[in-house]
Amino acid sequence: MTAPGIHTEEFQVNMGPHHPSTHGVCRFILTMDGEVIIKAEPVIGYLHRALEKICENRTYQQCIPVLDRFEYCTSMSCNEAFALAAEKLGGLEVPERAEYLRVIMLELNRIASHLIWFGTTSLDLGAITPFLYGFREREDILDLFEMTCGQRLTYNYIRVGGVAKDIPPEFIPKCKEFLDKFDAKVDDYERVLTENPIFIVRNKDIGVLTPEMAIAYAVSGPSLRASGVKFDLRKDDPYSIYDRFNFNIPVTHNGDCYDRYLIRIAEMRESARIVRQAIEQIPEGEIAAKVSMNYKPPEGEVYSRIENSRGEMGVYIQSPGKEKKPLRVKLRGGSYNQLQVMPELVKGHKIADVVAIMASLDIILPEVDR
């Protein structure tokens, strides 16, 4: 698009690794022609902690706190994925109440993670205030978590065979109070951002992800549903007791940043609905099966996957049988594939759009680097 005869050559810009809008530490080498990007190459590995190597010499219960750090925005779902895999290995039965507690915690954690996403998306596009509003709601959820399991970010709450502690008596009233005011707050967010013409212009038709490319690159979660593929593990490959709650899966069809935004806002409301139903139906009873610290599952291997806020989170465990430590733990995070598809989405856009696309794909780096 440069005038003929004028000699221009592309120049390379390093976006990251110390860059305010790469969530975690990631670097993009952008070859640019003026403002337009020709090629983007992500450079990762800054946050590689070899979690899989660590898990190989930890017992099953000790792996849970290690896996909290796998994806710290929704560490409940990391615990759940690992616990599901370990329970399938050993054929353990999780009591009813533990299942309900898990679903409540998972969905609250999904709302908290979407609120982080909502805050950082608006921050990356320049609106600073929604970030604060999003985090104000997230604080209420973190208080609920701290009341039950004692930590605000790395919970170590869902254990192999059940749940660590029962919810204190004042958990349910506080949770109800949060749920009642949460919908009004989401309307507030919508009023500030959703129909805002500047926000729409910055997000419409940016980073369009076609359904074929999404499935080819195994993108999952809200980004996949934004491209028109109705695929949610909670409904299509139901795990735990998700089939007992009625909630619907938001799907939109043109797969750009704005649709991914709409989907996540709708998902927040759906999760709130699930938590409300789970609170009403929670039975009394046991909260954990009898699983020893030196839990030794029989020989075997399993890949279990759950739907967390960034897509499909899968844990593959191979256990040698007599050992109390897993032979191999392979972790699969949703952001890994979304970052893989980023260079295709970014071609032809401007540097400001790289930020918008990365925020809309909700990529965080610990999941990518492990």
Binding site: K53, E301, G314, Q318, N337
Partner: protein
């Protein structure tokens, strides 16, 4: 298409190529006997109309102490099918074909397998180091027999 139909269908389709493993705890787990017909197997399960495996969940390499295993967890978005299969091959001359042509998502998984395990991937495209630091010269860390000067082993509490 539930679990037994899937097993029956696959065993008929590839009688001598795969066998059902009983170690699988959840979805059916197959062993692909010969690692050379990997790409052919992947292409056929992708194009098979009532399987339609178009979604690659995960590729994980495993070092079981005496040999390598590479586990492919695949699924179909449209048909809600999910199953896994794996290859077994010895340490020396560990080399497999890249399945990028079938599922582009495999690119980074194979690159990571090459970097951490040292399993060479034929015609992969850009086998470059991306998880470990660029000047890493202490071998392939995820192998069981791996040791390095500054690798602190966890003390075994008696």
């Amino acid at each position: 298409m539930d679990r037994d139909e899937l097993i029956k269908h696959l065993l008929e389709k590839f009688p001598e190529k795969i066998e059902l493993l009983e170690t699988g705890r959840a979805e059916p787990f197959f062993l692909l006997k010969n690692k050379d017909d990997l790409v052919a197997f992947c292409e056929s399960i992708k194009t098979d109309e009532n399987l339609d495996i178009d979604y690659l969940c995960n590729i994980g390499a495993v070092d079981t102490g005496e040999r390598f295993e590479v586990v492919y967890d695949v699924a179909s978005v449209k048909k809600h099918i999910r199953f896994d299969f794996k290859l077994r091959f010895e340490y020396e001359g560990a080399e497999i074909d890249s399945v990028q042509k079938v599922w582009p998502a495999a690119n980074w998984y194979e690159r990571e397998m090459w970097e951490l395990y040292g399993i060479n991937i034929r015609d992969h495209g850009n086998l470059k180091r991306f998880l470990l630091p660029d000047d890493w010269d202490q071998g392939h860390p995820m192998r069981k027999n791996w040791d390095a000067p500054d690798f602190v082993r966890m003390p075994e509490v008696e």
